[in-house]
Symmetry: C2
Subunit: 152 residues, 2 copies
């Protein structure tokens, strides 16, 4: 039941992006340096977030990323699902069709997995990005290196 680095790094990156992309597009390198994440790896995470419609990219010099929606309309759940895939703890779809419900008790545990899934989703879907940005500002008011230079 562990979240991979995709989810961990990606959420941090998106909070960072939300915080610094108000005035202009933020390039990967500046998020990466602030957050201590490899640029190449972060690239791949941003691709996932883009595919999910959470960020928009602007190509070319002085390009970068911006949020595709307002921060108050992006939930932690949106972000984590974009990065990790479904958050359900066990996939038991196509269980009936393939094996005809082989183990009788599996249906019982299915109910358990559904409950866990629901509770996770409820929790992450009611936490919105703007709240986290606010907290981030409160915890670290200065904002490490506004408009940080990249190719250093």
């Amino acid at each position: 039941m562990k979240l991979s680095t995709k989810g961990r790094y990606g959420l941090r990156a998106l909070i960072d992006l939300a915080r610094y992309s108000e005035s202009e597009a933020v390039p990967i390198c500046s998020i990466a340096s602030r957050q201590g994440i490899s640029e190449r790896y972060l690239e791949q995470l941003m691709a996932l977030l883009k595919k999910a419609g959470l960020v928009k990219s602007i190509r070319g010099a002085s390009g970068g990323y911006v949020l595709a929606r307002k921060a108050e309309e992006i939930s932690v759940g949106d972000v984590l699902r974009a990065l990790e895939g479904s958050l359900e703890p066990v996939k038991c779809a196509a269980f009936y069709s393939e094996e005809g419900c082989a183990a009788s008790d599996s249906c019982v545990t299915k109910y358990v997995w559904q409950k866990i899934n629901e509770s996770i989703n409820e929790t992450v879907d009611k936490m919105m990005l703007d709240e986290l940005v606010k907290e981030s500002k409160a915890l670290n008011p200065c904002g490490s290196f506004e408009g940080s230079v990249c190719g250093s």
Copy 2:
């Protein structure tokens, strides 16, 4: 955020054990055959459940396993934590001591992980084994092979 086979098999196995161990100790081979799990692998799962104090073992011929507590006193959370370790999605203990809170925003995400952790634990801690046994009986009343022979 996936549960491993340890958690999936192990919970099924313990529901099975709870159901069939009322009159006598249940050997691994009979749980394994009913649930379609490798005996050798199940052995290891039972060792984890024993270490956690959820089951007791009886060695020697006509031995096997029984619950260490009543089924209504064992929660799904107890079982899953015994098998999977902590269910928290991210471990950020020893974060301050080692890296001195390297990334400023990590503290923000820490709050997120805590919330997820709480909701998972709340959910699994209020589902008790006896409820699942009841459901199992309702879904599969006959009980596949009462006192099933093993070395067949």
